[in-house]
Symmetry: C2
Subunit: 139 residues, 2 copies
């Protein structure tokens, strides 16, 4: 190690030997998670569908700001990953319903926790940003 001449004793550093509840072992898992969670609209759509089957136009209204294109794309992606089921009712006019699968429903609590966290801290995050930007300008 190269810290012997820095004067910093490093016997107080916590061991990085993965305390079994901190790191998921496989990086693969993380990658899979990100694909569901990252993306601008995934969470919004899943949250909107939590209450039960929902139609295309309802989603378009509920997930405000989403474009028709992105709604379609995200829906297809979610369907492909088995997070929701697309049901076409052969009526006229056509009616399509999107229903979350069981595994998607399991994300409910996590997403609630996530949004709660954001709600608790959005003010301080905004403040931190302003502080950082102000300081960056000065520097």
């Amino acid at each position: 190690m190269s810290q012997s001449h820095t004067g910093v004793p490093n016997d107080t550093v916590p061991d990085r030997t993965v305390p079994e509840d901190t790191v998921p072992g496989e990086t693969c898992s993380l990658g899979e998670v990100l694909e569901q969670v990252s993306g601008k609209w995934n969470i919004g759509i899943i949250m909107a569908a939590m209450a039960g089957p929902i139609r295309f136009t309802e989603l378009e209204r509920e997930v405000q700001g989403i474009s028709r294109r992105m709604l379609t794309l995200t829906l297809r992606k979610l369907e492909r990953d088995g997070l929701l089921i697309r049901t076409v009712h052969p009526t006229v006019p056509p009616k399509v319903e999107y229903t979350l699968t069981e595994i998607a429903h399991e994300l409910h609590d996590t997403f609630i926790g996530l949004t709660a966290w954001a709600d608790r801290h959005k003010a301080s995050i905004a403040a931190a940003r302003r502080a950082y930007d102000a300081q960056s300008q000065g520097a």
Copy 2:
């Protein structure tokens, strides 16, 4: 899944009037969440820093697959948002430590839940993808 979408008139569908535990009220909150959670490396870095202050090179090793550039960029973003603190020790060679803030630590359980979910379902997600792709080809 628990309820069918097979044409049974569903009088049990809950109203879409935001049951106060399902939708975060403001789309803004969601947007803020996504900025912390989306992005390929945010979760990995935060998880790696959960155990205590961690150095640049340690992160580079622990968050496997990340490039130096993305590590720097993500670190800066996280710092700007007040999720971690960057401490420079004016030694030679330089030593920089990244320490999570309290609000970042609060994400621990949520992220654990997320990775656990991914771990539980990654097999069925992969299967769903194969099925979807196979069917798309046929169609």
